[in-house]
Amino acid sequence: MIQALIGWIESTRPNQVVQNVFWIIPVVQTIHILSVSIVMASMAMLDLRLMGLGLGRHSIASLAQRFMPWAWGALLLLLLTGTVLIIGEPGRSLGNWVFQLKMSLLLLAVIASLILIHRLRRDREYWERTPKLRIASRVLGLLLLMLWVGIVVCGRWIAYVG
């Protein structure tokens, strides 16, 4: 099924455009890397706070409010630029297990982030209420950081594997 999808994308006009206009892929990749930088820097700050490794003077809720809009905005740009890259070279990505792993990790990171902010929406102090929740927030911070790092690692290795 994936092979059929790849074959279909390769037969479309947008695929030809991305393939033949030499600057599209480097420029789109550059925007992609800049957007990754926004996500990584803002999520690293939030995750370090969750783990209790800094920014202690700010509450988790205030940092989530400060950084999540950046992450969502950059994520939208990542999906757009990522789609252009897939249209240009569907065989390099869609059929590649590293790409599929990257998308799975991304899904997990989004779900974990939604759980984080969903709890904060009802109770701004939620993650600091009990010792158990404080441990849970640290685990969540570590998990999120590892997921984002994993996503970047997979992103780079798509070029080398498959």
Binding site: P26, V27, Q29, T30, I33, L34, V36, S37, I38, V39, M40, A41, S42, A44, M45, G54, L55, R66, V149, V152, V153, G155, R156, W157, A159, Y160
Partner: protein, 161 residues
Amino acid sequence: MIDSFLQWLQETAPAVAIAESSWLFPTIETVHVLALTIVVGSIVMIDLRLIGATQRHRSVIELTQEVLPWTWIGFAVAVCTGSLMFTSNAVKYFANVPFRIKMILLASAGINMLFFHLVTYRSAHVWHMDAKIPPSGRIAGGVSLALWISIVGFGRWIGFV
């Protein structure tokens, strides 16, 4: 003289190991990308505050104190990994035009930052809470933003030449 130095450099044991291994270069490159995301992301946060685009209510001093230590850690890692990648094919990278432009832009970003810290930032205690900071600070932020976007662009381009 530089040619013989570059030739010597890429024949050193670590350089040869990186060039010949199937996984060393991609691994070092991946660490380089992780480091650069922290460097660029954190600098963009400060630059956007300086030009007054975001976080206008936040103290510039507080923001730089929170963010810059991470920027420097990331930068140190990026320099180490970047140097390792350079040694693996020193002669070719040195002749690579996007590589040369990137190095010039990096030096420019350094000068811009140095000027900001030694001159503009000295009076930061006066304006650090202002939504609109002095023009010299806003210019430094805009220049930095443009330089770092270009650095990422030319960095990516190195691999396409």
